[in-house]
Symmetry: C2
Subunit: 545 residues, 2 copies
């Protein structure tokens, strides 16, 4: 039962890619070929010996091809148990079929091109799935090729075993076959449900990876890859360090996605799924430094993502081998599209640090799924920054010179959990920085306060650093206010009351960007006018929970 010699094959394929190669190999091992209609014509034309399926079934191909393979003779030849049913097969004149090669009418392609119902129906294969399922069921004795991708490994196995196929290969191809059929009927079910105005959805995942644990150590955790989709979290490449944890994976997702839409070199520092530092600009090391300074306390133990090759200079920023241990910046994960060789060598000194390569085509799914209590919420992703940038107040700014900072800020604020407030500035010419953020509060005013406090903390530290000596408190205060006056405060949703504007103004903020749309917009605008604030409405809310 381990090796099965392939003496007789049935071939019925709608896609003839790589078929010739396969048949040539089979015939070189003296395998007989049975084929249906167009497959037979194709092979005869190429000069191969082929037995017409009608000779086996005793029936014609009938009803415009609806009946070709469905027959007692073919079903039995694939399905009978070679040990238990051998005598019965001889009595009934059934000669075994050892290999089925079959691919199906292209239903999915017909669906994609928006075919009418009648054409869809003609593309529902009946004979093919029966052959594939029968062969898969009887995989102890029969080999099933249901995807062209598998011809290569099959041929290797066939050649290794001089015309026979191993149990492992047959088992693998059986699994493949049931997946192919389940997917095929899944798409038919989805399509028909859609035409019936009662949509259904099937999400298929494969290659489960067992994680050390889930979000917490008393929970089990697994990672799956979505079938037939592009690059994903599953394709993260661990270059150094311990295996990725559930929370690492989730944070890497947030970190990489938070860089999307930001032009130039960018860096994002994520803690508990929220970016606490993001910057963009020209030189990666400077960008990293500015991102880090967004929250140098929380950045410890964070997940950091880059959108460009990690340089040695950036790697050295973390000072992981500093003699003064207090200078070492410990982080959990660095992820980048690639790592400079020296940077990689330098960082590998630290055994608890994970270094992860991600494929730049890594993509947030087109759709956003949220599983809740035996049900699923589905939405398309939040892909639009703003409708237009409209001044709501009398006070105005030259949009042209501020637009890229506004867009940077909108990219950041929509990545932060609601209620989200962020404060951004052009820290140096060409460099954008998240100066402070407030996340996840039930009350917007608290998020605003958190963003302002974090910004002031950062500005105080900054001032102390370059005014090492003595200074007046007022000088420090002036510095903070001046910097905040050059910054923009953004809100993911409208302000319900003027209080947010008031504390922003009290801290020196001069420019506020928010969607607008509150019942009390007028009051909010009036207060902004009184306080000399320029307020811009975007028309687009960015809730994210």
């Amino acid at each position: 039962m381990d090796l099965i010699k392939i003496k007789r094959a049935l071939i019925s394929v709608s896609d003839k890619t790589s078929l010739e190669n396969l048949v040539a190999a089979l015939q070189s091992f003296s395998c007989e070929i049975i084929a249906t209609g167009r497959t037979r014509d194709y092979l005869l034309q190429k000069g191969y010996e082929v037995i017409d399926i009608s000779r086996i079934t005793g029936n014609p191909e009938a009803f415009s091809g609806r009946m070709k393979t469905l027959s007692f003779q073919i079903g039995a030849a694939i399905l009978f148990d070679r040990e238990r049913d051998g005598e019965e097969a001889v009595k009934l004149g059934i000669t075994p079929i050892d290999l089925v090669v079959c691919n199906l009418y292209p239903f999915a392609r017909a669906k994609e091109k928006g075919a009418a119902l009648a054409e869809l129906i003609e593309n529902i294969d009946i004979g093919g799935p029966t052959l594939i399922r029968a062969a898969a069921k009887n995989f102890h004795y029969v080999c099933i090729l249901s995807e062209i991708d598998d011809y290569k490994m099959f041929l290797k196995d066939l050649s290794d075993h001089k015309g026979a196929v191993s149990y492992e290969t047959r088992f693998y191809l059986m699994r493949k076959a049931f997946n192919v059929i389940a997917d095929y009927d899944g798409i038919i079910a989805e399509t028909m449900d859609e035409r019936g105005n009662d949509p259904s959805l099937r999400l298929c995942f494969e290659k489960a990876l067992t994680l050390r644990y889930g979000e917490n150590s008393h929970q089990q955790g697994f990672l799956f890859r979505q079938r037939g989709m592009g690059k994903s979290l599953y394709d993260l490449e661990l270059l150094h360090g311990r295996e990725l944890s559930y929370n690492n994976i989730s944070d890497i997702n947030s970190a990489v996605n938070s860089l999307k839409g930001i032009p130039g070199i960018a860096c994002s520092i994520v803690k508990h799924n929220n970016p606490c530092g993001i910057a963009s600009g020209i030189n990666q090391h400077s960008v990293l430094k500015f991102a880090w300074e967004g929250d140098p306390v929380s950045a410890f133990g964070s997940v950091i993502a880059f959108n460009s090759e990690l340089t040695l200079e950036s790697a050295e920023f973390f000072q992981l081998n500093a003699l003064d241990k207090s200078k070492r910046k410990f982080i959990e994960v660095i992820t980048a599209p690639s790592f400079n060789e020296d940077a990689l060598r330098y960082l590998q000194f630290h055994e608890n640090l994970r270094l992860i390569r991600y494929d730049p085509s890594f993509d947030e799914m087109g759709l956003d799924y949220r599983f809740l209590a035996n049900s699923l919420l589905m939405q398309d992703r939040d892909g639009k920054l703003y409708n237009s940038l409209e001044f709501a107040t009398k006070e105005r700014i030259a949009l042209k010179s501020w637009q890229s900072l506004i867009e940077f800020g909108l990219n950041v604020v929509r990545q932060i959990k609601s209620n989200a407030i962020c404060i951004v500035r052009e820290v140096e010419s060409g460099y954008m920085q998240l100066l402070g953020m407030g996340a996840g509060q039930p009350n917007r005013l608290i998020s605003t306060r958190l963003a302002l406090e974090k910004s002031r903390d950062n500005l105080l530290r900054e001032f102390h650093a370059f005014r090492n000596g003595a200074f007046l408190d007022q000088e420090c205060e002036d510095y903070c206010s001046n910097q905040l006056a050059k910054s923009i405060l953004l809100s993911d949703a409208f302000f319900p009351f003027p209080d947010n504007v008031e504390i922003a103004a009290a801290n020196g903020i001069k420019i506020i960007v928010q969607p607008g749309g509150s019942l009390r917009d007028k009051k909010v605008i009036k207060r902004a006018d009184e306080l000399g604030i320029c307020m811009i409405f975007t028309g687009i809310r960015h809730f994210r929970h």
Copy 2:
């Protein structure tokens, strides 16, 4: 093509529930019955006329039942196009089959009982899916019954049309059939992948509901029900108000789930997916009042869940028809297992309020799925409150009298987004209350600060309310400290540094509950000892992102 008269039916079922009734009805309309092996025996025994399938196929039932229906004759009788292929069918001696009744070998049951591979394989039905798929493909002319649940609606249609079946019914049953087969092969694929140590997963959802929009108005949103699972968000019953939004649904999920595990009458107030007020106790109105006082600012516009029938007294708490409009407590959603009639009438005054009945068997899924970038994170849910309650410090409390408050607090803190801190107290004998919480911060210290500030805000308001007249600042301060001394501060994860303990102590906190497990636990405990704090380790972290 609209009505199809059922003249000839093929029946092949492994589950014979309700079969007699069906056959009796079919024969009353003079329908011929063809049946396979055991189905035939069963019907003959019950006294029905049955044509044995071998008479149609010309073949015996062979190979221990592996070959019964698979044949040119049966395939053709189901599949031929009644208009295009009529003449050809006559020439080939094919009499049409108008109805297929089939249910499949119970693969799922064999899987559940942990069958060995050989038994699993015998439970893979080949003939059945072929019959079902063929009949479904040709639904313009053929009716397919693939689930016993559908017999009733089929029989109604059959009787309404005097032995014929409508296009709508056939279309619906066709959709059902492809779903049944896709599910069947999905389970086979999953099972075989599992046996191959390469697990896969298929999640199926149905009955898409188009929501007004997604998380934001520029995103499309949908709600699906998971196939074959218990009560869910999908079964929420809107008793009053506008249709539920995407964010309502997500908040209701959080609110209802946050009540799980809390004994007695409980109420949860959710804003942006985080509970900002939770209380439990004896009288619902008091519980609501205590929950509300956890954050009376954020509670406006919230989603509120109860675990018991909403009483009139609770409904009146919101004062929705108060003449003094400032007294009206506007909220978005109230959800409860049921509503007292008078309460419902009272609340319906408010047209913007949504009133939602949920089924108490509504359940958080056994597994927790998270979709990220073409991949899926899966984990079991966080179902354990603590390993044990161990004193880490010299200072100790009488666990017996504090245990139910600790458990209340752990139930609350694990529902709040990380980093999460919450402060709870027994506000009156038998009543537990969330006094203040800090959620979703990248830095635990900020969450601790937020929880303490919110608690003090609430306590100040409380003090002002019953000491309406003049008082000394010190009296107020003493009140806050005394209340906090009787409260418990809980953390979802360990404290990395002693600073959290310090600000807790400075505010009057005397009892801290946290998982423990930091490298610096010793330092943290030492500081707690110095400050006279009782610290309890639970051994279980409750991250939630």
